[in-house]
């Protein structure tokens, strides 16, 4: 499997306060990586670093063997797509218009979208399962439909890496399953590298192949999801003293993990 993203000793501070302190991991083709950690452990900042939006204060994130900050913006947008947790849209764009924006990195600055872009958008709407929403206004959709529209926008970029920040946090279980099924098939059948920041531990343990656990001031674990999402690691990640409650509330998570790395 080709290595898509490689983070080495990645560090970042907001005004002197470390947000990400020394993260090492690799995202390969077909990987489905769960990124977990307590609030404020630097998960969202990490996504911004590996997507090239922020410059690390130390270390580097590589994309296909080249520093992610060295890419021209449009070329980067053809390789990495990012779905934020919530995106307020002040104007009533149609779903088609929103997804079409995903073709932006393929269009030269002085040109308009082509017919081929329209065709690709229609294909993606079908693939994501929302062809009927094409002409609906983005602000009239349910949270689940809206999230699917923004995932479709990211897919219209035809990226190799898909990063998602809490894509299912406000959704009902039906949409949670629908989105995780989609992400899993994008990784295993589509060959994308998918990294998901999420607090849906039960879903992550069912779908993700690898896990990266962040903690304030550093990295707690990187490895297989099976081991990473074990009770003992979850308890450590979220500083839960009562480890028995993890086993009781999340019974499918194995409690006899090998412990922290």
């Amino acid at each position: 499997m080709t290595s898509l993203i490689k983070a080495e000793n990645l560090k970042f501070s907001y005004n002197g306060t470390p947000a990400v302190a020394g993260v090492d991991f690799e995202l390969l083709e077909k990987d489905f990586l769960a990124v977990i950690g307590s609030n404020g452990s630097g998960k969202s900042t990490l996504l911004r670093l590996i997507s090239g939006f922020l410059t690390p204060s130390e270390g580097a994130a590589g994309l296909l063997g080249r520093n992610v900050r060295a890419y021209p913006k449009a070329e980067l947008a053809r390789l990495i797509a990012y779905v934020p947790s919530e995106l307020y849209v002040p104007y009533d764009f149609s779903v088609f218009e929103i997804v079409l924006m995903g073709r932006s990195p393929y269009v030269a600055w002085w040109r308009n979208y082509s017919d081929a872009d329209t065709v690709r958008v229609l294909e993606i709407l079908k693939k994501v399962g929302i062809p009927d929403l094409k002409d609906r206004c983005i602000n009239s959709l349910s949270s689940g439909e809206r999230q699917l529209a923004f995932i479709a926008q990211a897919l219209a970029q035809d990226p190799k890496v898909l990063l998602l920040d809490e894509p299912t946090s406000h959704l009902d279980i039906n949409y949670k399953i629908q989105i995780f099924e989609l992400l899993k098939s994008l990784a295993s059948d589509g060959g994308m590298g998918v990294a998901v920041v999420s607090h849906d531990l039960a879903l992550l343990s069912a779908y993700a192949g690898k896990a990266l656990i962040l903690k304030k001031g550093g990295q707690l674990f990187y490895g297989s999801a099976e081991e990473g999402l074990s009770g003992i690691n979850i308890a450590a990640a979220y500083e839960i003293r009562d480890t028995a409650s993890v086993a009781r509330l999340l019974p499918h998570i194995v409690t006899q993990g090998k412990g922290s790395k």
């Binding site: 913006k73 002040p90 009533d92 924006m101 932006s104 990195p105 308009n112 970029q157």
Partner: protein, 312 residues
């Protein structure tokens, strides 16, 4: 595709309004001298100013992801005014090219000042931008007032300029401003895709492959150009840029593919009608057109503010 055709209907609407406006005014049964010599240049000036302000408003609202933006609120108009007053102080005439350069520079710098003041954190919030715009506008207006108090010999011509209106619609000025506005709208119509993605915020636009700094610079320049051309012609006319894009979004949809050109046409239509009203409502007294637009604009702004409160 269907929507594209609808924009075309704005053109005959503008022409019809312009033709009708030829017959509105303080003088009943006006002769050809008044109609062609006085009213026509005024109507053309109203069209150019409306187009420039409507376009600028649509650009700012998209670029800053902020429905409460327009050149008046962000201080762009006040910056252009300050430039015009500076020219008056330095004895630079309104027909000189340097006049336009100074007015544009004032508009551009004031816009950037508002933006930088609002950008305390990563992203300027809707409220921060409006507040920074108020601060910049108020400060610049205070400087203008101070100048007018100290140099009374200039102040009479500047008063009308400050109120906004199309009184001295000098033909060469009209032509220069018309060309600038048309050029800015044309360039904007070519770059419309970037305003669509900026409507999702600068960060998302960056993930979609745009360079935020470059795009912001380009659109601030285009909107400042159009605003400067409008202010050079008519002084400050408020709220046109705020109202027009919001109404046209309801008709043509949110995408800037149609919004930029339709806002220019809609702005022209709106100001032609507002100016016709300004000339006739209290005839023979003429009401400054800025008064008419503010009477509609201020309540509209409050309505938008309440609707947008707590978001973004």
């Amino acid at each position: 595709m269907n929507n594209n055709r609808k924009i075309v209907w704005l053109v005959p609407a503008v022409l019809a309004a312009a033709a009708a406006a030829l017959f509105f005014g303080a003088v009943k049964n006006a002769g050809p001298d008044i109609i062609w010599g006085l009213r026509l240049p005024r109507i053309l000036a109203a069209a150019v100013v409306g187009a420039g302000l409507g376009f600028s408003g649509a650009v700012f609202q998209g670029l800053l992801k902020n429905p409460l933006s327009d050149p008046y609120i962000l201080g762009t108009s006040a910056g252009a005014m300050a430039g015009a007053v500076l020219c008056s102080a330095l004895g630079i005439g309104r027909a000189e090219p340097l006049f336009y350069v100074v007015v544009f520079t004032g508009a551009f710098l004031a816009t950037f000042l508002t933006y930088s003041l609002a950008k305390i954190k990563n992203h300027p919030s809707v409220a921060h931008l409006v507040l920074a715009g108020v601060a910049v506008s108020t400060f610049l207006t205070a400087l203008i007032m101070l100048f007018m108090t100290l140099y009374r010999e200039h102040s009479l011509s500047l008063v009308y300029f400050l109120l906004g209106g199309f009184f001295p619609a000098d033909n060469s000025l009209l032509a220069v401003s018309g060309v600038i506005v048309a050029g800015a709208v044309g360039a904007g119509a070519m770059l419309w895709r970037y305003l669509d993605i900026f409507s999702l915020g600068e960060e998302k636009a960056s993930y979609l492959g745009a360079d935020p700094d470059m795009i912001r610079l380009a659109f601030f320049a285009l909107a400042s150009l159009a605003t400067a051309a409008a202010v050079a012609l008519s002084g400050t006319v408020g709220f046109v840029g705020l109202i027009v894009p919001h109404i046209l979004r309801l008709v043509f949809g949110a995408s800037h593919r149609r919004l930029l050109v339709s806002s220019a046409l809609g702005g022209a239509l709106f100001l032609i009608l507002a100016d016709a009203a300004a000339r006739t409502v209290a005839a023979p007294i003429e009401i400054p057109v800025g008064v008419i637009t503010a009477v509609f604009g201020a309540p509209f702004f409050i309505w938008l503010l309440r609707r947008t409160a707590g978001e973004g």
